[in-house]
Structure formats: C-alpha cells, structure tokens
C-alpha cells in the first residue's frame, strides 16, 4: 500500500549502456524539438514597406487656430480643413498618436494636451470610426505617463482604446531605397490602421531644437531608440515617409521653451494658445518652428524632409488659413 517515493526508488535503479544512450537520444531530440517549437511560437518576423498612401488633401494646406479652449480650437481647425469625414471613413480603424512620453502633468507641457486628444477622439467617432486606438512608446514608466498626462482617463471616457505597447508585436521596416531605418521594429498597430492622426506637442528639444510631428513618430518605434538620434534628420524623414501620417494636429497650446523635452518647471512653459492642423508633416513642422521664432530649415527633420521630398517647408507659397477663435 505504501508506494516507494522517488527518493527511495531512484538510487536502486540500474543504469545500462543501452539505457544511457537512449536517454541521451531522447534528451537531444526533445531539445531540438523545443527549439523549433519556440521558434514557431515566438520567433516569427514580419516586414512591411509602410502604410499605403491615400494622399487626402484638405481645403487648405495648413490651418492655425488661436483661442482659449483647446477642445473647441481643435474642432475648429479640423472643420476648416474640411471636417473629419474627409480623413476618417465609416467603420474604419483610426490611430491617434499623441505624445505621452513623459511622467508630467498637462500644465508642465511635456505631453499633448488631453483636450486636443479628446476632441480628436470625439470627431473620429462622429465621422463613423469603428475603433480609435491610442498608444505611445513612453520614455518614463508607461503607466505613470498614461495616468499623469490625463490622456488615458479622458480618451477612455470618450470610448477610445488606450493601451500599452507590446515589444513583441512589431514589424520590421522595409524601404525601397537605402535607409538607415532599414529593419527597425515598428509597432504593428501603427501600420494596420486606416487613418493615422499624428498629435504631437510643440516643445523644445536639446538635439533637434524642437520636437514636433516628425519627432513624435519616434513613439511608434521599438528597439534601442537612442540610436535614432545619430543622423536624426534623415531617420525621421524616412520614418515619416514610411508612416505617411494622414493628419497632423500640433498642440501648441502650452509650449515648453527651455529644458525640453521633459520640462517640469512651470516657468519654462509659455502659453502660445495655438492649434495647428495640416496634412503635410514637414509643412506643419516648418510653420510650428516659425511660431517659435526659429528658422524651419535649422530643424534637422524639416531640412531632411525637404531634401528627400517628403513635404514642403515653403511657408510663403503654402495655402495657410489663420483663425482667431
């Protein structure tokens, strides 16, 4: 009735040469199979050559709205571009990519203003979007960023899907030309969406001078992102070409003028009270740089964007509508 425990029975067992060889064989086989199984389960890699372009043109090249209420200003800017219906089709999947990079409150202007995001979510659903995704690859710890930026709460309240990025759910970037971004892992959801709305915040940045819509696209990159900083202009230009955002809404309501991109000191925040919307990321960045009294071509992303013909930085020639609310 008392079965021998393994401690008692194991030492009694005899080891034969045949048994030993058999055991080794089984072990090696199991090892080889588990390797294959792991590769099958987790090792699949996919490549993508970027989003397909629709090249939707707005009524104007760029709209800038001045006012006091960021929500109303955002709505006004999109209406002036021709309304969200132009960009979002019925039953489509929309990705809004705000800047949620830092564990900062909205007043500290480290992240996109939550009301700008809220207005975009509302408009997308009104235009008939099936699903609105919001995410960012954060620099600080993601949960704290999502909470303290105020974006998670307000966007979830409006019915959007706000979630954290998964480093396993990426595709490798593939370019038809020679690019330093070749093979960079990009989050899949950034590519598998019908409309990509880029919603950056305008602020100071030590390396690029300013971080605006092209720099904001770094938030859809996985991997060791620090390496993007070398030759950042070219990389951002190629990344923008890869993603081709349909709509750029720049939050210049509160602007960090010094010590960006993290900030934290309220004295560095300047109330610009402007929302910029446009379809050409390079033009948007150029206009935003002009607002900050900087030469647009001194921003490496803009100058390289012009060089690679991704957009135009010629503000004088562009059709720009300025509204004061």
């Amino acid at each position: 009735m008392n079965k021998e425990s393994i401690f008692e029975s194991l030492p009694k067992r005899k080891i034969t040469r045949k048994g030993f060889v058999k055991l080794c064989g089984i072990g090696a086989g199991a090892l080889a199979m588990s390797n294959g199984l792991l590769k099958f389960a987790f090792g699949r890699e996919e490549a993508s050559s970027g989003r397909t372009v629709k090249k939707i043109k707005g009524l104007h090249d760029l709209v800038a709205v001045n006012g006091v209420d960021p929500y109303a200003m955002t709505v006004m800017a999109i209406e002036a571009l021709g309304g969200m219906d132009k960009f979002v089709k019925k039953n489509s999947v929309v990705l809004i990519k705000p800047n949620i990079g830092w564990d900062r409150s909205p007043e500290q202007a480290g992240n996109t203003n939550p009301y700008v995001v809220a207005a975009l979510v509302d408009m997308c659903f009104k235009a008939g979007a099936k699903r609105v995704n919001i995410f960012d690859n954060t620099c600080n710890e993601s949960k704290r960023c999502y909470e303290n930026s105020g974006i998670e709460k307000i966007a979830k309240g409006k019915g959007a899907n706000v979630y954290f990025v998964d480093d396993w759910n990426v595709v490798k970037a593939k370019f038809s030309y020679k690019s330093p971004m070749e093979g960079w892992p990009i989050y899949r959801d950034a590519l598998e969406c019908d409309t990509f709305i880029n919603a950056p915040v305008l602020k100071h940045h030590g390396l690029t001078g300013l971080t605006i819509s092209m720099k904001n696209l770094m938030g859809i990159c996985s991997g060791n992102r620090g390496l993007i900083h070398f030759d950042i202009g070219t990389k951002l230009a190629h990344l923008t070409d890869f993603i081709k955002p349909d709509l750029n809404v720049i939050d210049a309501y509160r602007v960090l003028t010094r010590n960006g991109p993290t900030g934290g000191n309220l004295a560095d925040v300047f109330d610009m009270k402007t929302i910029i919307a446009g379809t050409d990321p390079v033009l948007c960045d150029a206009y935003a740089a002009k607002l900050m009294d900087k030469d647009p071509l001194s921003i490496s992303g803009v100058s390289q964007g012009v060089k690679y013909n991704i957009g135009s930085a010629d503000i004088a020639k562009a059709d720009i509508l300025t509204i004061t609310a």
Binding site: F7, F40, A41, F42, R44, D103, C139, N140, E141, S142, K143, R144, N148, N161, Y163, F164, D166, W168, N169, H205, G206, L207, N224, R225, G226, L227, H229, F230, D231, I232, N259, P261, T262, G263, G264, N265, D268
Partner: protein, 469 residues
C-alpha cells in the same frame, strides 16, 4: 465532518491568498509585517498577536502563517517522525537573533517566515507566473492569430494581473532555492521548519506556554493515534502534550477514535504540560554561538561597499542594512524593476538588500513608492517634494565610450531624458563639417543620480554614462 479542520484549512488558504493579493495588487503589504513580533515587537498589532497567543496558543502558526500553509501542503504525503530534542534548535535561532539585536545588528531577515514567503512571492512567484501567462498570450495571439477580442483582453490584463512590465530578477534563483529547501524539509517530516527552525514560532511557543486554552483527553485508551499523527509532534506518549508546541491544527480532535480529545478553558490537570526548554548549559551554549558575529563585523557600517546605488533616502545611512528585513516589497513595487536584491556585493550582511541597477531600471523621478511600502522604514517614507531632492549618486560620463565625445555623433539621449527641471546634464555645441554636435556634461550640483541616463544610454555593452553613489 471535520468542522474545525475544515475551518483551519479555510483560514490558511484565506490568509495565504490575502498575503499574495496584498503583495501583488496593493501597496499595503507592509501591514502583514506589522503583526509580526519578530520584526516589530513594539508595535501595537504584534502585541495584540502576542496577547491573543497568551489566551488561545500558537494559532498564528496553524491558522494564519502563509509559510506554514505552504509547508503543510508540501508535507501532505510526508511521513511523520518524532524530532525529539531538535525542537530546541528554534530557541537557539531566536536567541542568536535577540543577542544580535542587542548588539545593534538585525539578522531576523534570514529566518523570519513572513519575510521568506514575501520574498518568494515577490521575487519568484509573481515574475514567473506573469511571464508564463504573458508568453501563453503571445503564443495565442501572435502564432495562432487570435487578434481582436483576445488581444483586447490581454491589454486589459496588463492593467491588472500582468502589469505593464514583466518583472525580472537575475539573481532570483538563490531566493527560490532557499525557499524550496525550507519547504522541502517538510518531506523529511511534517512541519520540519516550524518544529525545529522557525524563530517566530519560538516567540509564539514561549508565549503559548502560559496560554489558557488547553487540550484535554478523557479516558484515554492509549491507542497513540493522535501522538503519531501530530504534525508538530507535540503529543507525548502518555496522552499529555507539550503546550508550547501545539499549533491548534485540530487534527487530534478527529483522530481520536473515542472522540475523547477536547480543547477547553478548564484547568483540569492532565499531567505536566510543558517541560523546561532552556537549561543553564543551553544558555551558555547560546552565548557561545554568538561567535557568528565575526561574519557580520562590518554590518553596522552603512557605507558597506561603495558601488551599490541604494533606494532614495538611504544613501550612506548607517542603519539601512540593520533596518532592512529583505522582504522584497520595494523591489516588487518599483515601477521600473530597477531595484534588485544584492547578492554578495556588499558582503554577507547585505544579502538581498535592495539596490538600484540602472541597466535594468532607473529611479522614477515622480515616484516614492518604495518608501511607502517599506514595513520597517529602512527606506524612509518621503513626500514627493522630498523624494525629488534625494540624491542616489552622481552621473559621470565616460568620454572614451560616449559616441558624442568619441565619434562626434549626435546623440545626447542622456540630456533628453534627464528629469531634473533645470537639466543636470547640459551640452556644449561643437561643429564638425558644418554639423552641430552637442557634447554632454554633467552638472554635479543638480544631478540626483536617478540613473535614467544610464538606462537610456544607447551604447552597448557598456553605458557611456554611469551613476556612482
């Protein structure tokens, strides 16, 4: 129907689940250590526990202790042996801890059962459980293409059970071995650890000698069933029992074929119930055993080893290692996974004390969680404004590795991430072939040593910027 045994098992499972839940989800796990007299004897809650033990006996060991529950589960099929005089060992363990405590050295962390369980749950159980769950989901979602609804469920889990980060402790093998050995001892005989080694059990045993709830046997037939089955080997051959060993598991009440065993408050004499545990010879032996002190010579010195970055608020505090019980709460709560248990980096006395490993995770500037969950205030509880002023160390740039200094490349990722509002890392512009290359340098007066620069520095394998405490 063994009602009392059923109630005891229910209580054990409840407290084990509660303990795990508190560690996993809530930041209030420190409460559990408040009822632990070995860690906080001068605390109201632990005095209440001792008071309750004076009345009903070692109920904590049998009904509450999470480690006792796990040991019971491990020893369910084990043989039961009489361990005889070995039961005295636990008093020696307690004695050594107390002597060290009087000498100003805290070594309760080695043998406290709650700490051992908390460490296992925080550093081993939760990380491995979440990793397995995460991998299972990845397999289902990615390989089998179950995207839409399952993926949303997975993302929801990331907010609760899974957490946004799968924690990883490179040295957790040592904690798991320690735990497995302690539980594995139950295969030799039931409750081996509780009978022989547990110092918390010793405290409760010393208290329970005077307890009011007693075991009585009417008209014993001397069938010895209860004595053989007793998991603490507390019942003697003449059906009397060692009161201090009884953990009120209630097995003997139902083992008795005549149902003659009862627990009641009456003072009816049932033979000598306790026997002297510590003789004069034992006491001298105990004092002599303090020679162990040799290994702890440098323990009082908080400047143990220079290259460990300690959690915020404890830099160069002499009492840090003495206050820290190594429960792992801070490592569990640290949002970046940066707090890791030390092994031998700071000597034997510093084993498993937390230190920051910036390569794994940095100290989040707006976070004071570790101080809030520390049960012994080894990491001080700091307001957010105070926490931001705490200096963990100072960053230094190795110009032989830094790609901005060595290769004139654009980078300054460190400057970008520096959370100090005035930026503790600044840069000077230099021009190469018409290109602006900012060269970073550290403003030592502003640096708090949070380590985010080291964490985000893109150079591999060695980081070009490092935090030196």
């Amino acid at each position: 129907m063994k009602k009392l045994v059923f109630a005891r098992r229910l209580s054990q499972v409840f407290f084990l689940s509660l303990f795990t839940y508190m560690l996993w989800v809530t930041p209030h796990a420190a409460l559990f250590f408040k009822i632990d007299p070995l860690i906080s004897i001068f605390n109201l809650f632990s005095l209440i526990m001792l008071g309750a033990t004076l009345i009903i006996g070692r109920f904590f060991c049998g009904w509450v202790c999470p480690l006792g529950t796990i040991i019971d589960a491990c020893g369910i099929k084990a043989k039961n042996r009489d361990t005889g005089f070995l039961r005295k060992v636990k008093y020696y363990v307690l004695g050594v801890i107390v002597i060290f405590a009087f000498l100003g050295i805290q070594i309760a962390w080695i043998f406290d059962p709650l700490v051992i369980t908390a460490r296992f749950i925080s550093l081993n159980f939760i990380p491995s459980f979440t990793l397995t769950l995460d991998k299972a989901f990845i397999f289902l979602i990615k390989s089998l293409n179950f995207y839409a609804p399952l993926y949303d469920f997975y993302r929801m889990l990331k907010l609760s059970v899974l957490g946004t980060k799968i924690f990883y402790f490179p040295h957790s093998f040592i904690t798991v071995s320690f735990f497995v050995i302690i539980c594995g001892l139950a295969l030799i005989t039931k409750r081996f650890w509780c009978r022989i080694l547990c110092p918390l059990g010793a405290i409760y045993a010393l208290t329970a000698r005077f307890c009011l709830l007693r075991r009585h046997v009417d008209k014993c037939m001397h069938c010895m069933t209860c004595s053989i089955n007793c998991r603490m080997s507390a019942i003697k051959e003449d059906s009397s029992y060692r009161k201090e060993e009884c953990i009120l598991c209630m097995d003997c009440v139902y083992d008795c074929p005549d149902l003659a065993t009862k627990f009641s408050w009456t003072r009816k004499n049932t033979g000598r119930q306790t026997e002297g545990s510590i003789s004069r010879k034992d006491f001298l032996f105990l004092i002599a055993s303090s020679f162990l002190l040799v290994g702890f010579k440098n323990v009082g010195d908080g400047r143990d080893r220079p290259l460990l970055i300690r959690p915020p608020g404890v830099l160069h505090k002499r009492e840090f290692l003495n206050k820290c019980v190594r429960c792992g709460n801070c490592m569990r709560i640290c949002p970046t996974n940066g707090l890791q248990p030390a092994i031998f980096e700071s000597g034997f006395s510093g084993i498993w004390a937390p230190h920051l490993v910036p390569e794994i995770g940095y100290c989040e500037y707006n976070c004071n969680s570790c101080g809030n969950v520390c049960p012994t205030a080894a990491i001080p509880k700091l307001s957010m404004a105070d926490k931001k002023k705490q200096i963990l160390g100072t960053a230094i740039i190795d110009k032989n590795i830094c790609i901005a200094w060595l290769e004139n490349k654009e980078c300054i990722v460190c400057e970008e991430h520096c959370p100090v509002p005035q930026k503790a890392i600044k840069s000077n512009d230099e021009f190469f072939n018409g290109k602006r290359v900012p060269k970073p340098y550290v403003d030592i007066s502003l640096c708090v040593g949070c380590g985010i620069c080291q964490n985000k520095c893109p150079t591999r394998p060695a980081r070009a910027i490092r935090v030196i405490p």
